[in-house]
């Protein structure tokens, strides 16, 4: 499903990844934990084909990055820190716009479905700039699932969300997993990782330094596991 071999990424003289390996099976829900600056966002941007690897092999569904990125992007849904929405368009217009960009058929009915799903149908004609951060993130999730992607990438999606929006996002994440979609999510939240993930990886200093299936670790052991993984790379 997702195969990353010997990934190297450099920005000028700074090397972010020095030969990272990462594999995800179909239907897995992988949460990547790591301190600030570990490279989590850069890694997801490479998987999303927004950033070009310096060297190494990245394949999703057998399609290579770079080279076959259109085929990959058709299967990807991405939710990042930023909602990727236009402030001066309404919720309805934003989804119509992205639906056209993705070539979603029966767009009218699909947009209606998605707006109802994220609880914004009543506010569909309001401009996004009038939405709260939580509402914008809900619409961002609607944008990401509009084309029914098989792989979803979430980059710290709970950042800045209130309790209600976080619970809604959790419900969507659980449903995504239940429907057999593959998920890679970065997070700082160990509790959420324990609740949602089928596998937990720790990224530090550009390397996956620890990886454990969720069933092999108790929730109360997760903090110790994480601290130990980080300290081993720091020493």
């Amino acid at each position: 499903m997702i195969e990353v071999r010997h990934l190297v990424k450099r920005f000028g003289v700074k090397t972010v990844f020095k030969g990272l390996d990462f594999h995800v099976q179909s239907g897995e829900f992988v949460v990547i934990l790591g301190p600030n600056g570990a490279g989590k966002t850069t890694f997801l941007r490479i998987l999303a084909s927004l950033s070009r690897p310096t060297s190494g092999e990245v394949r999703i569904y057998g399609y290579a990055i770079p080279g076959q990125t259109s085929a990959i992007r058709r299967r990807l849904g991405v939710v990042s820190h930023q909602p990727l929405l236009y402030d001066n368009l309404s919720a309805l217009e934003n989804l119509h716009f992205y639906g056209n960009m993705y070539g979603v058929p029966n767009l009218e009915s699909r947009v209606k479905e998605v707006l109802e799903l994220v609880g914004l149908y009543q506010r569909r004609r309001d401009l996004v700039r009038t939405f709260s951060r939580g509402m914008q993130q809900r619409l961002a999730i609607g944008r990401a699932v509009l084309h029914d992607p098989q792989v979803m990438l979430f980059d710290e999606p709970h950042t800045g969300l209130d309790q209600e929006a976080s619970l809604m996002l959790d419900a969507i994440l659980r449903e995504v997993a239940a429907r057999g979609r593959t998920v890679v999510m970065t997070s700082h939240d160990l509790t959420r990782a324990a609740e949602l993930a089928s596998r937990i990886d720790v990224l530090s200093k550009g390397m996956i330094v620890a990886s454990v299936p969720r069933e092999d670790i108790e929730p109360d052991q997760l903090a110790g596991f994480y601290r130990q993984a980080i300290s081993e790379t720091s020493s």
Partner: protein, 246 residues
């Protein structure tokens, strides 16, 4: 909130991609970007108002600064107008790409499963429309201020060809500059050396039409404009993917 979420509505395993084909999606994406830019501008008027105010102030300043007699006016008209459009154009190009960058929307565009040249063409056509709108407002004002008749079919054709080349190169370079912190300063520095051929050809051809020169004297400049437009549009088509990717 979660009660309203039913698995069937999010992921019902029905096909989510238009079977109409990649070409149809490609052109639909271009149209969607143009529609989006025009709709947003209709609401905010940020881009057009900045370009228009700058352009009108510029021709007003030229009017007072140069105290031209009737004979000289006709010879400098093309130069004054193209200088004004070129400077006003950078404001529009910068703002057009800043809208995409500021809220991360450029990533949203780049994530779409369409050839990234569609993003270039959508943005470039949008920028061209804005530039032509500004020109259509500035021309009558200039005509009144300078008492020069500008509504000549040949001059209007040159305006279109020059604006096309300018926005093609400008959109490409604005896409590069947008990744830098000094984008507002960087764009003119990158753009003006590259658009010198198109500005030179546009000024010469415009002058030719406004002074009633024979077509045989104007045609070489029109040819330069056409060749420039074709080369830079083709170049942008090829390199845009590399320009916007990290």
């Amino acid at each position: 909130m979660s009660d309203g979420i039913t698995p069937k509505t999010i992921f019902d395993d029905s096909p989510r991609h238009d079977p109409g084909g990649a070409v149809k999606v490609y052109f639909r994406s271009i149209a969607a970007i143009i529609w989006k830019d025009l709709s947003m501008e209709l609401r905010s008027r940020e881009l057009l108002s900045a370009m228009l105010v700058f352009a009108l102030l510029a021709i007003l300043i030229f009017n007072f600064a140069m105290e031209l007699d009737v004979k000289i006016r006709s010879t400098v008209t093309a130069g004054v107008l193209w200088s004004t459009f070129a400077f006003a154009g950078t404001l529009g190009l910068n703002r057009s790409m800043a809208i995409e960058k500021d809220r991360g929307c450029l990533d949203g565009l780049l994530l779409a499963p369409v050839d990234r040249s569609a993003i270039f063409f959508g943005k470039a056509v949008g920028n061209l429309v804005f530039m032509i709108l500004v020109e259509m407002i500035v021309l009558p004002v200039y005509s009144v201020l300078y008492n020069v008749n500008l509504f000549h079919w040949g001059f209007l054709l040159i305006l279109f060809l020059g604006s096309l080349g300018y926005t093609a190169v400008g959109t490409l370079l604005a896409s590069m500059a947008i990744h830098t912190r000094t984008r507002d300063v960087l764009l003119p520095i990158l753009l003006f050396p590259v658009v010198i051929p198109v500005l030179m050809a546009a000024v010469k051809a415009s002058n030719g039409f406004l002074q009633g020169l024979a077509m045989i004297e104007i045609m070489p400049w029109i040819n330069i404009l056409i060749v420039y437009d074709v080369i830079f549009t083709a170049l942008a088509f090829v390199v845009f993917d590399f320009v916007v990717e990290e």
